[in-house]
């Protein structure tokens, strides 16, 4: 009969109306600034830089390799590497800016970062009174501690920490092996003039690991370890060897 659909619809809205007064399921709205929902761990807004230790700038994991800058689709990242007094690049960003009004939150910078230094934040209240200065995040603003990272995404951070520890261990072992090999080579120097051939399996990591040692001996080492490839948050699993940005 004509009108039965209208009555059905009215019944649905009436249920909503009555239910919203006593059934929490029917009133899912949260009074936002006072009450906040716990964000899901995978929630992401804009990137931030992770640092270890106490000092935000010195502890930055970033080595200013510019991979994220190159890969960023809207090109919102701007990096100038630090240089020492002789003009040689140091493995630290002097300027690291992200234009938040341009960033689209695609997470590609996180995917490509070989050093686990850039991660996605969960802060979404980034309103500013100025469209230009207010929304450009500088290095100091972006740097957030590893503890904070553990707070916002515990699972992923733990995974990253294990992997970094593993890599550190591997790098140390390798350094030890290299040292041992060097010692052996030195011992054999008189007899055989070709010492490097014995360390062939580790040669892939050598160019990056070796120059990293003066500043941050333990942290940076891209690892082609297959164990982390299952995790979506482990971007370097299939990452290629970083280009040699350092001599």
């Amino acid at each position: 009969m004509l009108g039965s659909g209208i009555i059905k619809g009215l019944a649905v809205t009436a249920k909503n109306f009555v239910g919203s007064f006593h059934d929490p399921e029917r009133l899912p709205t949260v009074e936002y600034p006072e009450k906040r929902l716990t964000l899901p761990e995978a929630y992401r807004s804009f990137p931030f830089l992770v640092f270890d230790g106490e000092n935000a700038i010195d502890g930055l994991r970033c080595v200013a390799c510019k991979m994220c800058e190159n890969e960023c689709p809207p090109q919102c990242i701007y990096i100038i590497p630090e240089r020492d007094e002789k003009g040689r690049p140091v493995k630290k960003p002097k300027v690291f800016d992200i234009d938040l009004s341009v960033c689209m939150g695609c997470q590609i910078c996180v995917e490509v970062c070989p050093f686990d230094s850039i991660k996605m934040d969960q802060v979404f209240e980034v309103a500013a009174t100025n469209r230009f200065e207010g929304l450009i995040a500088h290095r100091e603003m972006l740097a957030k501690s590893n503890t904070y990272y553990h707070q916002i995404r515990p699972t992923e951070a733990a995974e990253v920490d294990t992997r970094l520890a593993e890599e550190k261990r591997l790098a140390e072992e390798k350094a030890k092996a290299a040292a041992a090999a060097k010692a052996a080579a030195a011992a054999k120097a008189a007899a055989a003039p070709k010492p490097v051939a014995t360390t062939a399996p580790a040669s892939a990591t050598a160019p990056a690991a070796a120059p990293a040692s003066p500043a941050k001996p333990a942290v940076a080492a891209p690892s082609p370890s297959p164990s982390s490839s299952s995790s979506a948050a482990a971007p370097m699993a299939a990452a290629p060897k970083p280009p040699a940005t350092t001599p």
Binding site: M1, L2, G5, G9, L10, T13, N16, F17
Partner: protein, 395 residues
């Protein structure tokens, strides 16, 4: 005690007019009536907007405005301040005079309809002999103001909206009047106060003699309310300001206080038309049960009015906007024929007024059949080929 409460507004009026000399008392009492209507319905309008927003929120599973004051009770005043402080923009190519006149007229026409509505036993601003006719004469004029707004804005969307407003008015004026005619026929008067008095009395002290509780009155009430929603341009018949198609229709080029005036006029018009519906069909200020007469009559009127307006909000929260051809088809192919049949039904009811005993049941059965059978048949014709629909993706 009850009598005092009932006469309270009159006593207040007499007390105030007592301060003035005799020759100007009629003027003062007239002005008092105007001020009272403006104050009461101004406040009613303010809280109606809040209630509408809160209720719509509840219908859609959200709490609605609740930030300004406790439970958002100060929201209407915040809105008023905002509307008053906003810049008033007049388009350069607009017809300046008409652009200014339209919001003023729309509120004026919305307000003058209140003059003939009996708000209580002794509370009727003007007790005209041809009150119902006056009401409709005042009501049709407001659509003219909408046309002026649409025309003066020099905007194509506003123009389309103005055309739609006219088409909608012409289409729905007829069912509205056809729904009212049976009431006038049965009560034998055009005066709203006498129509309310004619609906007085209770069977066994609990069943009121309201028009809506008869077959023809029930049908008439529904036709009236559907047409009233269309006349006041409310959802689902808010085609003149269909925001998805016409931005805001005739309101597109209005801002600030002029916009607020249109908003106010919409609510005044709705209150007035619902007030007429209450007067004609729901017994006006009559109490629903005999013993509840201790409550003053004007309270009953406002309670009924609020209930009817709540139903309109409920409908607004539920139904989708019609297309313009569906809108006119509903009027001409459904409401007008039903209204005409209902007229005959009311005539039968009038002629069979002296049937009693078992004949009373026959009377009810015939009257109900006369309205239900055409409803089903016309409904079947109208919806043939439309239902049941199958949806491929939705369940």
């Amino acid at each position: 005690m009850t009598a005092t409460l009932e006469r309270l507004p009159l006593l207040v009026r007499d007390w105030i007019t007592g301060f003035f000399p005799e020759p100007v008392r009629w003027l003062v009492s007239g002005l008092l009536a105007i001020v009272a209507i403006l104050a009461v319905f101004g406040l009613y309008f303010a809280y109606l907007t809040l209630a509408e927003r809160k209720f719509l929120g509840r219908f859609q599973n959200r709490p609605g405005p609740n930030r300004t004051g406790p439970f958002g009770l100060l929201q209407p005043f915040a809105d008023a301040v905002k509307a008053l402080t906003k810049e008033d923009i007049v388009p350069q190519a607009a017809d300046k005079l008409l652009h200014f006149l339209a919001p003023c007229l729309v509120v004026a026409f919305g307000l003058i309809s209140f003059a003939v509505i009996p708000f209580g036993r002794y509370l009727i601003p003007v007790d005209l002999d041809a009150a119902v006719l006056y009401f409709f004469a005042a009501g049709v004029s407001s659509e003219l103001a909408l046309f002026m707004a649409g025309w003066a804005s020099h905007n194509k969307y506003s123009m389309i909206s103005a055309m739609r407003a006219l088409a909608q008015l012409i289409s729905y004026e007829l069912p509205l009047l056809l729904a009212v005619v049976p009431v006038i026929m049965l009560s034998g008067t055009l005066s709203t106060s006498k129509i309310v008095v004619a609906q007085g009395g209770w069977t066994f002290g609990i069943i009121p003699h309201w028009n809506v509780l008869t077959p023809w009155g029930f049908a008439g009430f529904f036709i009236f309310m559907i047409a009233a929603v269309a006349e006041t341009n409310r959802s689902p018949f808010d085609l003149p300001e269909a925001e998805s198609e016409l931005i805001a229709g005739h309101l597109t080029e209005y801002s600030g206080f002029k916009y607020a005036l249109f908003f106010m006029a919409e609510y005044f018009g709705m209150s007035a038309l619902c007030g007429l519906g209450v007067t004609l069909f729901l017994g006006g200020w009559q109490a629903p049960i005999d013993i509840l007469q201790v409550v003053p009559s004007y309270v009953w009127f406002m309670v009924k009015l609020s209930c009817v307006i709540f139903c309109l909000m409920w409908v607004r929260a539920t139904l989708l906007r019609l297309r313009i051809d569906q809108l006119t088809r509903l009027a001409w192919k459904f409401l007008v024929p039903l209204g005409l049949i209902n007229l005959g039904n009311a005539a039968f009811w009038h002629l069979s007024a002296d049937w009693s005993g078992p004949l009373q049941i026959v009377r009810w059965a015939i009257s109900a059949a006369v309205i239900v059978i055409p409803f089903v048949l016309i409904g079947r014709t109208l919806s043939s080929g439309l239902a049941p629909r199958t949806y491929r993706y939705a369940t």
